[in-house]
Symmetry: C2
Subunit: 349 residues, 2 copies
DNA sequence: GGGGACGATGGCACCGCTGTCATTCCCCTT
DNA sequence: AAGGGGAATGACAGCGGTGCCATCGTCCCC
């Protein structure tokens, strides 16, 4: 009845099972060389005491923390969350835990902070999402610390770290083709935040599709947004104010597409009859707005799962230090979702 | 040049500074009783070696992990993310790290999983969000482990743990009053998922406002949704199909309000002239849909920050074991956002 | 001038586990 | 019968810090 009140340790288990702590450790870690009889006794003792190994002690002794970190820059909407859900799915199944850290990549002490996170916590591995994926300071710290990391949608593939992505350029290309196929020739474009990978790739895809169709890219139809609703409002205004205004607008993400739609509603346009709009990302928003938005779905969760798989795969081969070369670069399939925000352009008056 | 290649430890620092490791430890932990001279020498040594204390070792020895856990049930959209951002803000400032774990509260091994998370990782404290806030199994595990926790928007305040919330009943009351003041008398209501705290409180506020205004609650106007867009579509249909249909609809969250709006658009209603719609939560969606949605903003991030503050406040008083009694229950202010989805009802034909 | 009180520092056990190596026992070979 | 090899187990030294207590020198005060 009395019993020690503190949490049971491996020593208590060993004592109760009549074994050495090392043997208990073997059972806990599912190592070989334990007789079935002994195994059973120990498992019983574990159950009886409700023993749970202390991760801190374990990590200290084994130099493995079983911690995976997710470093991100902007807590950008549903994207970040989906990433986390994906990571969590895998972590759970493989006994890892997820630590999340936001890194203000603009701040002066990025270095200090990133270093503290990586080195103090002794993370086993790290997953990077934009815009930290391409931050040289962070990457160097990771390299120096010898912590394996996987980048989701990096600007540029590297030989030292794996990556996961979709072909954004191709997606933008296809989406633009869709508009062209409907008969649109004046297609406006709202870019995302400067220097973001996505911004560049999506824009490139748009340009290429136009060019391939023999349509010139008209700079008057290209606006610079920042991936936010607010940033896109003036862009939409300028585009729709033109005397020879575009019959379709490609916004670099759904949020900005929503701004275009709102602005069109303001002017009492009937959508999609008078204006086609497409977005990118398939955020929940896309399906809930009116009219439902034609957009591209990135399998974000699956991408995160793939990243986790790659990471955990490596970590499981203790002893090996380095990535296999060449390091894996996965490209997952995207989906073009044709909804009701696109239609043929209005007949020429 | 040669120097040890492994990460420097406190011993290296002590040696370099000509001090004992204990004194170095004092400096690292900002304890008192270190002479300025000694302090400076040690700080210099730390900088020179780029020393970073090993959290694992520190935790093991001190029985503090500096880890705060966020346990949640559904990764419900922007809400969860906002919570995390809030928590992160505080963790960062106080030297804590955030571990996130999803708990499938329907699964059979909730107990095992929750226990593993709490006990193995030796979390210093935990923040709970719906629907784990009220899971008796999880709560018991936390209590047993003696891990302090704060609940965000719990179903019921408890004497053993602090909570943070807004007055949802009051918010729903006010919002309903707004509709009444515009002249609406037939106000539809779409409830959230059964058993959720929010569902009950919001509905109660609605009923009370009606009653106080001398309007009877008509069960025909009350539909049961599940907080999702899809679940609300049939609800919206049924409400709008009625011969004497409501002139306004109160959806228990924005997502369901979006479904109502979409359904109204489908029928080519002009909003808000023919139908007023209100939601709850002020998700990003609310501002981006058309027309922009009148809704209630919960200061989610601030709530998370408050929760973290409460938790960290307690943790900083090491030695004290228990919450001060009575434990704090914070109620933050909400905001009613009047946008363009509400108007006076159409004049009686 | 003796006795505190207090500032400053160090010594050392110990937190709970894993890695390494030694040991024992058994069966199999030659 | 001796030797060899592998399965099963244990002893023990850390991993890198912190907590507690001892020590030492000063300054102060009656």
């Amino acid at each position: 009845m009395a019993g020690p009140d503190r949490k049971p340790t491996i020593i208590d288990v060993a004592r109760l099972a009549g074994a050495s702590i090392k043997t208990v450790s073997r059972v806990i870690n599912k190592e070989r060389y334990v007789s079935p009889d002994m195994q059973e006794r120990i498992e019983k003792a574990v159950a009886e005491l409700g023993y749970q190994p202390n991760m801190m002690a374990r990590s200290l002794a084994s130099e493995r923390s079983n911690l995976i970190g997710h470093l991100y820059g902007d807590a950008g909407g549903p994207y970040t969350l989906e990433i986390q859900v994906g990571l969590l799915n895998r972590c759970r199944d493989h006994g890892y835990h997820l630590m999340i850290e936001e890194i203000d990549y603009r701040s002066a002490n990025v270095e200090q902070r990133a270093s503290a996170i990586v080195n103090q916590m002794r993370l086993d591995g790290v997953v990077l999402t934009a815009p930290v994926t391409d931050n040289p300071v962070v990457l160097r710290i990771l390299e120096d610390a010898g912590v394996p990391y996987v980048r989701v949608t990096p600007q540029q593939e590297s030989e030292t770290s794996p990556s996961v992505r979709i072909d954004e350029r191709q997606a933008a290309y296809t989406l633009t083709q869709h508009l062209l196929a409907l008969g649109h020739r004046r297609i406006g474009f709202i870019k995302g935040k400067a220097n973001h990978t996505a911004t560049i790739l999506r824009y490139t895809g748009y340009c290429q599709a136009l060019t391939d169709a023999g349509v010139a890219v008209d700079p008057v139809l290209v606006e610079q947004g920042e991936f936010t609703y607010a940033s896109a409002v003036p862009c939409a205004r300028r585009l729709l104010d033109q005397h020879n205004r575009p019959t379709a607008i490609f916004a670099s993400n759904d949020e900005m597409a929503a701004a275009v739609v709102a602005e069109a509603h303001n002017r009492s346009f009937s959508l999609p009859a008078q204006l086609s709009v497409v977005g990118f990302d398939d955020t929940p928003l896309a399906e809930m707005m009116w009219p439902p938005l034609t957009t591209v779905r990135q399998p974000v969760r699956e991408m995160a799962e793939a990243a986790a798989d790659i990471l955990i795969g490596l970590l499981s081969q203790r002893g090996k230090v380095d990535w296999p070369k060449p390091v894996p670069h996965q490209v997952l399939a995207h989906t073009i979702l044709l909804r009701q925000s696109t239609a043929r352009p209005p007949a020429k008056g």
